[in-house]
Symmetry: C3
Subunit: 122 residues, 3 copies
């Protein structure tokens, strides 16, 4: 799990947008974007909770075709979702002090990842 | 759980936007925004279902650091997500008759909450 | 589950927007929009996983009022969410090769469904 907040805030600053929103999108079907307090406890808890809800295993239809061991990664990513939109006011992201924008990689092998940030407004 | 639909619709009217969308964002890491039929049954069911999936407890990493009893609140909020975007056509939100925009507070103590509505379009 | 990707891409082309985003919204409280690899395995897995997390049944408050057997449909739809926003660059949706935009109908009877696509940008 990676904290993207500073990078998104930096894109907001560069854009000169004062009122609007920033849209963050994880390219790829085994990663997602979430809002969470970025601290070591929750950084461990979120993947654990999702793996309890949707455990790794061979029981998935996806595995029977692809045998790559990451059906749960796809399903966890869909449940979290790939996108998040955060409002901008006075050239700043308006989010809680303990509310960070994070990228969560659910895959079972290291991947190079792309995240697209779009800033929109006036 | 609070129904925000009338307030969002009112922001749409004030904005004079006829075609576009309204973005609703819950500030804070223990609340979320969802779309659901706002009726007493589901108002009870949604928090119950989320507390069954992610129960309160001391087993979370977050608890071991912060001991504030709301790790499940953070995780439930992340799963629901803090944002929702609804299309606007003919100056009206386009959502189902039984599809309301709701704020759900997952925290274990009363909180003052801020919700940001951004209307965008033409 | 239906793959909407080609239809959304077609709306992007028609709009002449080169940089911006496409917003996809499922009207109605028992359907949702998700991002997933659209292949037969996951097409079966996603509804199964959600029905394991939130099973059909008579235990819901919604059922005690409405008796229409679809409380779980409402709750599954809320968990997946009704909306998704995908970035546009060079007049194309920027999503992974295996990352499709899908409409998932959770209801227990056939429904006519409406999906609203809004393309925004420059």
């Amino acid at each position: 799990m990676h904290d993207l907040t500073a990078k998104v805030q930096s894109a907001v600053k560069k854009s000169k947008v004062t009122t609007g929103f920033a849209h963050v999108f994880a390219v790829g079907s085994t990663a997602g974007i979430g809002a969470i307090e970025f601290e070591p406890g929750l950084k461990k808890d979120l993947p654990e909770v999702l793996s309890k809800l949707i455990p790794p295993g061979r029981q998935y239809g996806h595995e029977q075709t692809w045998h790559d061991g990451n059906a749960h990664s796809h399903l966890q990513a869909t449940l979290l979702g790939p996108d998040l939109t955060i409002p901008i006011r006075d050239s700043e992201l308006v989010a809680g002090t303990w509310q960070q924008v994070v990228h969560v990689d659910f895959d079972n092998r290291p991947r190079q990842r792309q995240v697209i940030v779009t800033v929109y407004g006036e």
